[in-house]
């Protein structure tokens, strides 16, 4: 398995190649084509040399076994047969005979189709080899065109199939060298505890109070049993007859224990809140660092909720988990020592049922957990149906689908209550059984203890203390048993949080990146090519130039790649071909901070984060003043509607908060850009979701904003672009026309057609 991901050919194949007179030096590139054309998995290699294309396969035999990326089997490669050389068939097609090689996308796989001279399905491969196949295609076309092939570069550019040095597993996420297998829970725990480091003093006091709490608590049964019964009531020892004093001491100890407990509880809650706060702050600042694509992939709302939930879970664990773990551990150790000192034989007897209890719990808990998961899933389905329906209420009504929605809800609700009942039934039968078994321990003590009391080996007071201690032991033990599952759940929560914190941005800053304090705002894109996924080019050879202070318009049908182009300028993604220069410096050489500082985007997809309106506007400049926020809102025409909200600028928006209309969100994001005050402003259909009147109002604001800045404006409504100095028309990822408005109108091409359509639409409106 690991072998296949290596950049070099498998050893056996090398030998074979040498034998067949095909020198390895001549090999330009190769792809492992692991899928049979008609289905099934095979082991075929397609090798490109300077003279020919080779296909090495062992005929039609399918592989019996296959391991995909990310999986490390425990029986490493044991059963995998090496390539059987004698069965290997080799096919050679000279380069001159081949017109072209094409990668055809199939579902979850791809196929190499060669034209020699007729099309022919040559080999097929699973998705994991797509990138290499595309590379083969491009090397071949370069070869055909007699272009020079940069040997080293082609080979070195291979994605790093970085694997975990411990277990050999390929890191499941590209660019994230975290091996989920070797990442140990205790490491996460240690990292989590790292957050507690700055609170050493309070931790010291908390532990001290815990100790006192345990110590006072443990002394009570001794006083209640031995001292009260044997000494005070039995009339022996120092406390003989002093019943009131003993009772007083007991009450005093109880109060003290309670007091210590309450004290450490409050101190601990505060500490936990602080730690979790630090954790959250840390994550949110980590999130700011990440590129937009991270959010696009994870869906902001969902991510925020998840981080919040996970953080709350951890907080809960810090308050109710860790401290009680320590207290209970101390209690268990303390009680066991006391019991053993008092009477070790009796101790062993009454611990007899313990293993059974633990076994039972071990057996039952997975079942309970599974039922819990099933219940959780039903609840989420139910919730999503509810939120779906609420959000799309207008559409549901418009299409008269209320009854369908009700049915859907009813069905989900029924299955939910079914699962819920099962869960509760399990819960309510299993715990009494566990309790019963535990009680047996108590009965055993009474039986044996009573017997020994009658023989005079033990006093009645002692057995009273003993029983109390035993009962005090069961609680902590049960807690310990539960905490194991809880602990690993919490570590997963922590892991998810750290995942955000550790996420490596798609585009990473160079080590010697240049920081630009000032920017004139010249943009130059030359021969830019880009694809999100291999073999699906979105931009092809796009060149664009904006002088400082100019306004450039980009128009074209939707899906043409306009948003993609501006995403590349602000380096949310890296270009695949060509380069983008700002003030003559390649964006790849600039620090992320200078890009963020000098480029402002108002995009077509508006992002509203969970937080207040003010926080949302101030997002990018957290240290700005309140006036600035309001000015920005005023300019963006958002002030009036914000003021109308009951909570004004403090209104919580985003997931779970007040829901804003599309236009309102858009205005908030315009306000964000206004406040940001960048030198390069990108308006990506910034006014698309606004009505004409609001658009006109904002247009004025934007015009004042555009003044003195380099602006790239993308617009559907061409009237918005009438002030542009220069226009580019983009279609299917290519610049098809460019020039000033007048020049383009004279061209009588795509632009003119769009303008005419636009005018017609406007006329229609007037008629109506």
């Amino acid at each position: 398995m690991i072998k296949k991901n290596m950049k070099t050919l498998p050893e056996e194949l090398k030998g074979f190649i040498n034998q067949s007179g095909l020198q390895e030096e001549k090999i330009l590139y190769w792809v492992n084509c692991d899928r049979g054309i008609d289905g099934g998995f095979v082991d075929t290699y397609v090798i490109l040399t300077e003279e020919a294309l080779y296909r090495l396969s062992n005929g039609q035999t399918f592989q019996q076994e296959k391991t995909f990326k990310g999986f490390v089997s425990k029986t490493v490669n044991k059963d995998l047969k090496p390539l059987e050389m004698n069965q290997l068939k080799i096919e050679r097609i000279g380069i001159d005979e081949i017109h072209s090689i094409q990668v055809v996308n199939l579902i979850a796989s791809g196929m190499l189709v060669i034209k020699a001279p007729n099309e022919r399905a040559f080999a097929s491969f699973t998705n994991g080899n797509m990138a290499r196949a595309v590379k083969l295609e491009s090397i071949f076309s370069k070869l055909k065109k007699n272009e020079s092939i940069q040997f080293q570069k082609e080979w070195g550019e291979e994605e790093d199939a970085a694997a975990c040095p411990h277990c050999g597993m390929i890191y499941p996420e590209k660019g994230r060298p975290v091996c989920p297998k070797c990442l140990k829970r205790h490491a996460i725990f240690t990292r989590l505890l790292g957050f507690a480091r700055s609170y050493k003093k309070s931790i010291f006091f908390i532990v001290l109070l815990m100790l006192l709490n345990s110590a006072t608590g443990l002394a009570i049964p001794y006083f209640q049993g031995t001292i009260l019964f044997d000494q005070a009531l039995g009339g022996t020892g120092i406390f003989a007859g002093k019943i009131a004093l003993v009772v007083g001491i007991i009450i005093f100890l109880r109060t003290l224990s309670l007091l210590f407990g309450a004290l450490f509880g409050t101190m601990n809650a505060k500490l936990a809140a602080n730690i979790v706060f630090d954790l959250k702050t840390n994550i949110f600042s980590a999130m700011q660092r990440l590129s937009l694509s991270f959010f696009q992939k994870k869906q902001t709302g969902q991510l925020m909720t998840r981080v919040n939930n996970d953080a709350n879970e951890l907080q809960h664990f810090f308050i109710d988990g860790i401290p009680y773990f320590i207290v209970n551990a101390m209690n268990i150790v303390g009680i066991t020592i006391i019991l053993l000192i008092m009477d070790w034989k009796l101790t062993l007897i009454c611990l007899l049922p313990m293993p059974f209890v633990i076994l039972l719990i071990r057996w039952v808990f997975p079942k309970l957990w599974r039922l819990g998961w099933r219940r959780h899933r039903r609840v989420s389905i139910l919730n999503s149906i509810i939120s779906d329906t609420v959000q799309s209420a207008r559409i549901v009504k418009a299409f008269g689908k209320e009854s369908v929605e009700i049915d859907r809800f009813q069905k989900a609700n029924l299955t939910f209550s079914d699962v819920e009942q099962k869960f509760n039934k399990m819960n309510s039968t299993i715990f009494p059984i566990i309790n019963l078994i535990t009680q047996i321990g108590g009965i055993l003590i009474w039986a044996f203890g009573g017997w020994r009391v009658m023989h005079g080996d033990l006093s009645f007071g002692e057995i009273m203390s003993f029983v109390t201690y035993i009962y005090m032991l069961f609680g902590p033990i049960q807690f310990m048993n539960n905490i194991a599952g809880w602990w690993s759940n919490c570590m997963s929560a922590a892991q998810r949080i750290f995942e955000v914190q550790d996420a490596v941005p798609d585009v990473s800053e160079k080590e010697d990146a240049v920081h630009l304090e000032k920017m004139r705002g010249e943009i130059r894109a030359s021969h830019v090519g880009f694809c999100y996924e291999p073999n699906k080019p979105i931009l092809k050879d796009v060149s664009l130039h904006a002088k400082p202070g100019q306004m450039i318009g980009v128009v074209g049908p939707s899906g043409a790649g306009k948003s993609t182009l501006v995403n590349l300028i602000s380096r949310l993604y890296d270009v695949t071909d060509g380069e983008i220069l700002l003030d003559g410096i390649n964006v790849k050489d600039l620090t992320a901070e200078s890009l963020r500082k000098h480029i402002g985007i108002v995009s077509q997809e508006v992002y509203v984060f969970m937080g207040t309106v003010a926080e949302n506007i101030a997002y990018g400049n957290p240290e700005c003043s309140v006036e600035e926020i309001i000015y920005a809102a005023k300019i963006a025409n958002a002030h009036d509607f914000i003021e109308k909200l009951p909570d004004g600028y403090d209104t919580m928006i985003g997931t779970g908060g007040y829901s804003l209309s599309g236009g309102e969100k858009q205005r908030i994001s315009i306000a964000r850009a206004v406040l940001h005050d960048p030198n390069i402003l990108i308006l990506d259909e910034a006014t698309a979701s606004l009505d004409t009147e609001t658009e006109l109002q904002i247009q004025e604001a934007l015009e004042s904003l555009v003044h003195g800045r380099t602006t790239i404006a993308i617009a559907h409504r061409l009237s918005t672009l009438r002030n542009a100095h220069y226009l580019y028309v983009l279609d299917q990822g290519k610049v098809v026309e460019e020039g000033t408005h007048e020049e383009l109108m004279k061209l009588n091409g795509m632009y003119k057609g769009m303008v005419q359509k636009h005018e017609d639409a406007l006329k229609m409106k007037e008629v109506i």
């Binding site: 990326k69 579902i107 796989s109």
Partner: protein, 184 residues
């Protein structure tokens, strides 16, 4: 969409339908106007109303609910040549040919036995017997990577986007079902 059509009966709606299809201008391929053939290079070619398309590919409109209906015939430039409304309109040998081509495009191992699903830190590691042999693959948790695509069919997508299918969850044993359920 398929279902809706079968329940339509009122005259009015039927009329609306015809209007819509006229507007959509879908070119239906029938045995009368279409000739499918397998090329020497194992690819599909088609002659429609006399015009030859040397290489075409079949895209199912409903790959999960019904692979045999509304099949779009497209060139490698993603231009639609036309649509096959139902495979069964064609003679048996052509259906076999088209079936093979569909299989070529949509090939995904069908899980016959789930051996083990092991969860760790947001990934589940699957080991299963399938129609394409014994497979081991890794699935990222959440994000719909394991999802029900019909009332009985489960689609599993691994890290690289490779697809695996469970045709009918009811055919799984109790133990297998439990493992699969935890990843849904």
């Amino acid at each position: 969409m398929v279902k809706v059509e079968s329940t339509l009966c009122s005259q009015e709606i039927v009329e609306k339908k015809t209007d819509l299809s006229e507007a959509a201008r879908i070119h239906y391929l029938t045995p009368e106007n279409t000739e499918f053939a397998l090329t020497e290079g194992k690819l599909l070619s088609v002659r429609v109303d006399g015009e030859l398309y040397p290489v075409v590919y079949l895209h199912c409109s409903f790959p999960h609910s019904n692979k045999r209906m509304f099949i779009s015939v497209r060139t490698s430039e993603n231009q639609e040549v036309g649509m096959v409304k139902s495979l069964d309109e064609f003679p048996v040998d052509i259906v076999r040919l088209l079936d093979e081509q569909i299989h070529m495009r949509y090939f995904a191992p069908i899980i016959t036995k789930v051996i083990n699903i092991h969860e760790e830190f947001g990934y589940s590691y699957w080991e299963a017997e399938t129609t394409a042999g014994h497979l081991q693959f890794t699935v990222r948790r959440g994000g719909g990577n394991v999802k029900m695509v019909s009332s009985v069919k489960v689609l599993i997508t691994d890290l690289d986007g490779n697809r695996f299918l469970i045709e009918d969850v009811n055919q799984l044993s109790e133990k297998e079902y439990r493992m699969v359920e935890m990843s849904l």
